[in-house]
Amino acid sequence: MSGLLEVINLKVCFKTESGVVKAVDGVSFEVFEGERFVLVGESGSGKSVLAQAILRLLPKNAEIEGKVIFEGRNLLELSEDEMRKIRGKEIAWIPQSQTALNPVLTVGFQCAEPLMEHFGMKRSSALAKILGIFDFLGIGGRAEDYPHQFSGGMRQRVLVAMGISAEPRLIIADEPTKGLDAAKRGQVAELFQRVDKTMLIITHDLQFAESLADRIAVMYCGEIVEISSAKDFFSNPLHPYSQGLLNSLPSRGLKPIPGFQPSLVNLPKGCRFRERCWLADDRCKERPPLARVGDRLVRCWMYD
């Protein structure tokens, strides 16, 4: 297995009135060909910003450092024209479902657009291909409908259809289960399993992550604190934050993590989880490195 996407020491800052917000602070990871890599984190952990930085979808006031290597090229150095050829064709973006579709175009046409744009296909042949994908995803016969005629779960299918239509090498999905109830979340997981592609999935939904991830990375305050195989992560989480997160699941006792997540403008020095951690000691006043434990990575002095 080789890394299809490699993110190296990525940093994203926003300058705001109240100070510099370090949304992503030195993140490195690889996504291997054929795997489903799931990035979990709570709001404000920087996971969505990270995904948008990879595809260069961030607003201009974002300052980005580091490297994003995709098929041997650093995406951060490409021109906007070259980038446009990659978006949708090589790397597809599946956004959050609520507002992503154009309300005045039929869903079939919206999904056919990437094909017409990237491959110069005719409208009729692009639509024919889309109809096949719609059948595959279980929304056959709805191509002439408009987004408002679809429920939340159905709209997610449309977005997936749009994402896979151009047969990209990599799919990045941003919170695909947001706003859906438990039964629909299960359907989305099933849908993603049926699509056999390399995926980077961003979510705060641990149950969803468990149902489809090969590997899991946990983000907290702009840093990756743990990268593990999904099996290891759910049976034996290493980082105290990972443990706290899993224990706050209703099925695992609904135990809250003490304290609050610190503001990204004013982060504690050293380990960022230190103030909420029940194991913290003096060593934690220094920033722990991402240490290797077997084939897992964890940012905690306990494992150094």
């Binding site: 709570e42 404000g44 109830d181 438990a182 706050s248 699941l249 209703p250 609904l254 809250p256 997540q261």
Partner: protein, 232 residues
């Protein structure tokens, strides 16, 4: 303490009012004093409508709601308003539940002012007491909703709901917009307050596991009917 008998609600829409959705279809439900009842069901199963009927925020088409022996469905504006102090709602999305142009202090104090229950000093004392009870700091009171996180906002909404010492609380998916660890914090807080104040709670959620933790009893709802009732 609160009881709904034979509740039914049909929503009509369309130009000629010719489309009808039966949201609640012949439901009997009873919640005793100090009891936490969880109500689970998929979206569209009628659980929110049932919650709002029990609070008399929606009038049922058929059936009656009885609260502490008083038949609410027979009451009119003023009499009903007096009883409203005893029953409160915690809605799903705390960002929509608070006025974006008010500081948190005013939002928490509003129920006290509306019902004219206390003077300025008492009001301040009561607001501070509530703030402490839900784990917010005094400095939060001077802020606007957009300056707070979802978990902090939901705490403020809980503080406001408790301001009038209610007896019955409907929590309509109070944590579905919150992060996982924040959900655990907020739910634990609600459970603690429920016991301390001996509240009757109807906790609406679509998460079965959460329902089993919160509820003394779990009711499940499908297509407007109570399909199942389990004692935990």
């Amino acid at each position: 303490m609160i009881e709904g008998r034979g509740l039914r609600k049909v929503f009509k829409s369309g130009i000629f009012r010719n489309k009808a959705v039966v949201a609640v279809d012949g439901v009997n439900v009873r919640i005793d004093e100090g009891e936490a009842v969880a109500l689970v069901g998929e979206s569209g199963s009628g659980k929110s409508t049932l919650g709002r009927i029990l609070l008399m925020l929606i009038r049922p088409d058929e059936g009656k709601v009885v609260f502490e022996g008083i038949e609410l469905t027979k009451l009119k504006g003023k009499e009903l308003r007096r009883l409203r102090t005893k029953m409160q709602l915690i809605p799903q999305n705390p960002e929509d539940a608070l006025d974006p142009r008010w500081r948190l202090y005013d939002s928490v104090a509003e129920p006290l002012r509306v019902h004219g229950l206390c003077d300025k000093n008492e009001e301040e004392e009561r607001v501070l007491e509530l703030t402490k009870a839900v784990g917010l700091k005094e400095e939060h009171l001077g802020r606007y909703p957009h300056e707070l996180s979802g978990g902090e906002l939901q705490r403020a909404v809980i503080a406001r709901a408790l301001a009038l010492n209610p007896k019955f609380l409907v929590c309509d998916e109070p944590t579905s917009m919150l992060d996982l660890s924040t959900q655990a914090t907020v739910v634990r807080l609600l459970m603690k307050l429920q016991r301390r104040m001996d509240l009757a709670i109807l906790f609406i959620t679509h998460d079965v596991e959460l329902a089993q933790i919160v509820g003394d009893r779990v009711l499940s709802m499908a297509e407007g009917r109570i399909a199942n009732s389990v004692v935990c």
